[in-house]
């Protein structure tokens, strides 16, 4: 019987190896898999390349992973947020690499990685510094840049509900990068608030079909990142 549920956070992240490419879902706090990130901190894999829209807040979650020196490089669209000090300090000290990608291009590169498309053309960033060094080409008298699909070894994603097959539902704008990151990674590891019986998710409403998910872990009451940041908590 197929059953993708694992029973502990440590088991969920145990295979993440030094030097892995890891996609981490979330747009700011919404959809950020904070328990999985903390498990990865406990696990300790180093020299990671992280693909994520932001760089985390305060000293918990993604910011804590970066602060713990586990991240060599980050591919991201917006590494600067209200409560973000960890990344800026390391970046200015030359201790972490940044590949800055427009948000829509980042999303499409992840989707392409999952869909077996090695490269595609987009109009975003043409005539800007972010197009420097990139191939460009005219289609219908408009200029486009060539962008490459991104694949990852692992994805850490937060969803709302799963079944044993790995079918996923999300909540509101926490959906953001989760569905595409699951498609683009060899091992998509998903924390959900609730695991239900197969058949309890209406097949018409499934957002991520289980084929894209390898491990599911139930975290019934995930931590509230904003609150932890407000309370100046740090992890570990």
């Amino acid at each position: 019987m197929i059953n993708k549920q694992v029973n502990s956070l440590s088991e969920a992240v145990v295979d993440i190896f030094d030097g892995a490419i890891v996609m981490i879902g979330g747009f700011g706090e919404a959809g950020s898999p904070i328990e999985l990130i903390h498990a990865l901190i406990d696990h300790g894999a180093k020299n990671l390349t992280v693909v994520s829209n932001n760089t985390g807040s305060g000293h918990v979650g993604l910011a804590a992973l970066i602060e713990n020196k586990q991240v060599k490089k980050i591919i991201c669209s917006f590494p600067r947020t209200a409560n973000s000090t960890v990344f800026p300090e390391l970046y200015n000290a030359g201790k972490i690499e940044l590949e800055l990608v427009p948000q829509g291009t980042l999303a499409e590169r992840i989707r392409a990685g999952g869909a077996g498309i090695p490269a595609f053309y987009v109009p975003a960033s043409v005539n800007t510094p972010l197009a420097e060094g990139k191939e460009s080409r005219m289609f219908n008298e408009q200029e486009y840049v060539l962008e490459y699909g991104i694949k990852a070894d692992f994805a850490l994603v937060k969803a709302e509900t799963a079944d044993r097959y790995g079918n996923l539902l999300y909540h509101a704008t926490a959906r953001n990068f989760g569905p595409i990151m699951c498609t683009a990674s060899k091992v998509a590891i998903v924390q959900v608030k609730k695991i239900v019986e197969a058949g309890q998710i209406d097949p018409e409403t499934v957002v991520t079909p289980g084929i894209f998910v390898q491990k599911v872990i139930e975290v019934i009451n995930p931590a509230d990142e904003s609150k932890l940041v407000e309370e100046e908590m740090s992890y570990p």
Binding site: F27, G28, E29, A30, G31, N53, S77, F78, P79, R80, T81, A82, F87, P88, Y91, N92, L98, L100, V101, P102, Q103, G104, T105, L106, A107, E108, I110, R111, V122, P123, A124, S125, V126, N127, T128, P129, L130, Y170, H171, A172, T173, A174, R175, N176, F177, G178, P179, I180, V207, D224, E225, S226
Partner: protein
């Protein structure tokens, strides 16, 4: 010199109201972070606009009551929002299908600089120690049908933000259609910048003094 006794120009709310008047009924609209967000407060009676927020919601509603926010229901500025009846959630690739694919009618953005060609700079000063962060700005200007900029006409230091050529790194080239500043509404045409409307107590000469690019007046028949 500025006369401090009389009110010169529009305040933020008035600027937002001017933008709102120019967005047709039934439009799909993406509002940038900051002053653009105010536009939603001034939609004229009888018009219905649908707001898209690029982090994954079509049909964004008003800010929730204090204390009623859902941490997983936020806008592109990561602030609490609500959704209207008839809304839809989607992932980022689908969201930027809307944006890149030309499905959004109007995007209202803030600016650091706008050139007379419609070039927009709103993501980086290019300073060496600044952390570069671009978000969805480049995707929006490349994909949305009409780009409106809402901005103070000058920086806090009094420097013009509307210039011959942008000195900051570009967000997009020849993308802005119209600028709504505290001093005027300017159309950007191939022939240059045209003054569409002057704010209260702003003369053409005053506007020229505060602008870093050549301004044109419409011929009467073109107004």
């Amino acid at each position: 010199m500025i006369n401090n006794d009389i009110k010169i120009g529009w305040d933020r709310a008035e600027m937002a109201q001017k933008v709102a008047l120019d967005i047709p009924d039934g439009s799909y609209v993406n509002l940038g972070i900051g002053i653009p967000e105010l536009v939603a407060d001034f939609v004229p009676e009888g018009r219905e606009l649908i707001y898209q927020t690029e982090n994954g919601l079509l049909g964004m509603g008003p800010v929730p009551e204090e204390g009623k926010g859902d941490r997983e229901l936020v806008n592109a500025g990561k602030k609490y929002i609500t959704s209207i009846p008839g809304a839809a959630y989607f992932h980022h690739a689908d969201s930027f299908t809307m944006i890149r694919g030309g499905h959004i009618d109007v995007c209202v953005l803030g600016a650091m600089q706008v050139s007379k060609h419609g070039d927009l700079a709103n993501w980086s000063t290019g300073a060496k120690d600044a952390i570069p962060a671009v978000g969805g700005a480049m995707d929006l200007v490349a994909g949305v049908k009409r780009i409106f900029v809402i901005t103070q006409h000058n920086t806090k230091h009094g420097d013009p933000k509307i210039v011959e050529e942008c000195s900051f790194p570009l967000t997009g080239k020849e993308v802005v259609e119209r600028i709504y500043s505290n001093l005027a509404i300017l159309d950007i045409k191939k022939e240059g910048l045209f003054v569409r409307e002057l704010a209260p107590n702003v003369s053409f000469e005053y506007l020229e003094e505060h602008t870093g690019a050549k301004l044109n007046q419409y011929l009467k028949t073109q107004v």
